[in-house]
Amino acid sequence: MRSGASALTRFRSIALGGMSLADYGFYILCATAVVLLLAEAVRDTTNFAQTLVFGLTQGAIFALIALGYTMVYGIIELINFAHGDVFTLSAYIGTTILGLFTVTEGSFTALNLVALVIIFPVVMLIMGGINVAIERIAYRPLRSAPRLAPLITAIGMSFFLEGVMFLWKGPATVHFPNILPQWTTTVGGVFFGLKDIFVIITAAILVALLAFFINRTRLGKAMRATAQDRDAAQLMGIDINRTIAATFFIGALLAGAGGVIYGLYYNTVYYQLGFRTGLIAFTAAVFGGIGNIPGAAIGGLIIGLTAAFSDSYIGGKWTTVVIFGILIGVLVFRPTGLLGMRVPEK
């Protein structure tokens, strides 16, 4: 056992031209995957491109959720299990608000546009408020408690939110109005619509806004400082409680937008949707190196693509195995995630 363990370490630390063998192994695996995919792309371009479109769309939504996981983890080292349910709840709230408008389904009217413009900020702000409340009630009192205590309250919160949705709309799937323009087209046999473009562009805009916020604003910088070293940040006069609340707020804004986008794209949601989606989005966050914001966005896209390609080429029932298998592989060969950013050591 002991010699084996050190053999693995030795294997990891053998260096060739600045990279370890494990790194080479990792890159070779990645390259193989890319080559196989390219071969597939040449063989059946249409199917490949179709999968690509679908993967990107799905990945964009995962990315929005993953960002919330990564930000919260980065700042308080909590795997916020309730985050996936915050995402679902926003779709529930979204469909309720849309119910207030007399939107037209299946075609795009002026009222639809108005509803669309209103629903995003409204749902996002409501979710922000809810998430801040969750943090205040369930996590903040436990900040100095044993590490697993907030994890359990997060799980409790997850059940609680699912329960709220269950009580509210029952166990069946809930319809989300289909109010986006229905325009679709095929380019070289690849079928895609305005919906796909809408999802990807909205997500991209939100991620760009987040990047701007984190890098350029005072609060964003405070968040980064707090994630780096909470005590030092406090000494520098940063209000820790406020900064953490802000992190939850922004995480929920993104998840809120993600929920609405999901609803607009798939048109049906159900109360336990957030559980699996959240788990996969969390995987995406880890994939990109948890705590790393660009990493989460890229991780989301990669997981979305992986899921799509696995669904299409290997078969849906293998997708879970593929995603989590890759996750384990990445962590074994690249313990700090794909982008290799270190987790703040505390």
Binding site: A145, G156, M157, S158, G163, L167, L279, K317, I328
Partner: protein, 410 residues
């Protein structure tokens, strides 16, 4: 050493009964044993049936799971979010090797291995997988391990589902063999012959048999884990939990020590899995989803991580909540409403789905609320671990205490 200490201690002193009762853990064990003995007697007498005993039996394997996970999470401080995977591995090992299942698989031969052998086989199988998973991943920083185990926990049931040729997939493995008692237990006194001491006691007909078995398994598990806890290895686990760098600097090989925690935790889960398969006689991938891992984790944390009595109490309390109290609420609410003259509430009308249904819908909220509330009230768990009182009684410590007293007097 004073003369008094040299004098031959009386039996009462030696047994230290008073001191022991004052010790919280001993008291809890005492109560648990008494309850375990009285429970089947009282419930069978009171209800005339064994439904409650079956419930208690099922609570028993959750206790086993919690005791095992406590080794990983509570002692060694490794967050394992995929514990159910090992449970699944144990259950399937037993289910496949002690049922007709393999006859309809590509192997074309049913295997029926004896329960008492296979329960250890399941244990070893789970430990093996624990080691395989742990070996490359245990050097990962704390939370990455949690994620790897989470991924493993997602993959394993899916694999059992996917390889349906062998496992029956979603159709589950059924007709699993029940344990047979060794002949010397099934002797004349078991009720088959003239010489009856107890009523017929067989796994096929009597749920009490499973209850007794699980109590024995738990007792053995508690003794073994307590032994580990108070040993070189137990302290090494806790040292790693508290500060891995300092532990390594004290000469602890952190990787092998963590691997041991992982393997031992997994073997408990495999053990419980085999027992579970034998008890319910039907195993499907759906019995081992993430929710199972989470439930066991909640049992451990809520009971008081690292403290074996706490974990047992936590498991029992959670079992009662999750599998008895909350599922029973709709019925209780309905009958309560009827008995106080509000029976009309039970009918559904318009938006109102009826009281029972409405209560059912509240289940998640109640469960979630309880988790949050309990954690906020007792972040350390119901019975947090404390410095072991027993240690105080150790001679060297006592001597020191008396020396201090003498010093104070002088």
């Amino acid at each position: 050493m004073s003369n008094a200490a040299k004098a031959r201690p009386t039996l009462r002193d030696r047994l230290n009964i008073r001191e022991r009762i004052r010790d919280r853990d001993t008291a809890v064990y005492g109560i648990l044993i008494i309850v375990a003995v009285l429970f089947p007697l009282v419930t069978v007498y009171a209800t005339g049936g064994t439904a409650l005993v079956s419930h208690a039996t099922r609570a028993g394997y959750w206790v086993l799971l919690a005791i095992g996970l406590n080794v990983v999470v509570g002692f060694a401080g490794l967050l394992d979010l995929g514990y159910a995977a090992f449970f699944a591995i144990g259950a399937y090992t037993y289910a496949l090797l002690a049922s007709p299942q393999l006859a309809s698989s590509p192997a074309h031969h049913a295997v029926h291995i004896n329960f008492w052998i296979l329960i250890f086989g399941s244990m070893l199988m789970a430990a093996l997988f624990g080691a395989i998973l742990g070996f490359p991943t245990l050097r990962l920083r704390g939370d990455y391990l949690a994620i790897v185990t989470l991924g493993f926990g997602e993959i394993v049931p899916q694999l059992f589902y996917n390889f349906d040729q062998w496992t029956g997939g979603i159709n589950a493995v059924g007709l699993i063999d029940q344990p047979l008692l060794p002949a010397w237990i099934q002797g004349p006194w078991s009720g088959d012959g003239d010489f009856k001491i107890v009523s017929p006691f067989s796994f096929n007909t009597d749920p009490v048999a499973f209850y007794v078995l699980v109590c024995f398994l738990i007792a053995i598990a508690v003794i073994l884990v307590t032994n580990l806890y108070r040993s070189r290895l137990g302290r090494a686990w806790m040292a790693i939990r508290e500060d891995e760098v300092a532990a390594a600097a004290m000469g602890i090989n952190t990787v092998t020590t963590k691997l041991l925690a992982f393997g031992i935790g997994a073997s408990f889960s495999g053990f419980a899995g085999a027992y579970y398969a034998a008890d319910v006689a039907l195993v499907s991938p759906d019995n081992f989803l993430f929710i199972v891992s989470i439930t066991v984790l909640v049992m451990v944390v809520l009971g008081g991580m690292g403290n074996i009595t706490g974990v047992i109490v936590g498991a029992l309390v959670m079992y009662y909540l999750v599998f008895y109290l909350i599922p029973g609420l709709p019925e209780n609410a309905t009958s309560l409403a009827s008995s106080i003259g509000l029976g009309s509430l039970n009918q559904s009308s318009g938006d109102w789905p009826g009281l029972g249904e409405e209560t059912q819908r509240l289940n998640f909220i109640i469960y979630g609320g309880i988790l949050v509330g309990m954690m906020l009230l007792r972040p350390q768990g119901l019975l947090p671990s404390r410095v072991r009182e027993q240690e105080l009684k150790h001679a060297a410590v006592l001597e020191e205490a008396s020396a201090v007293e003498e010093g104070a007097r002088a």
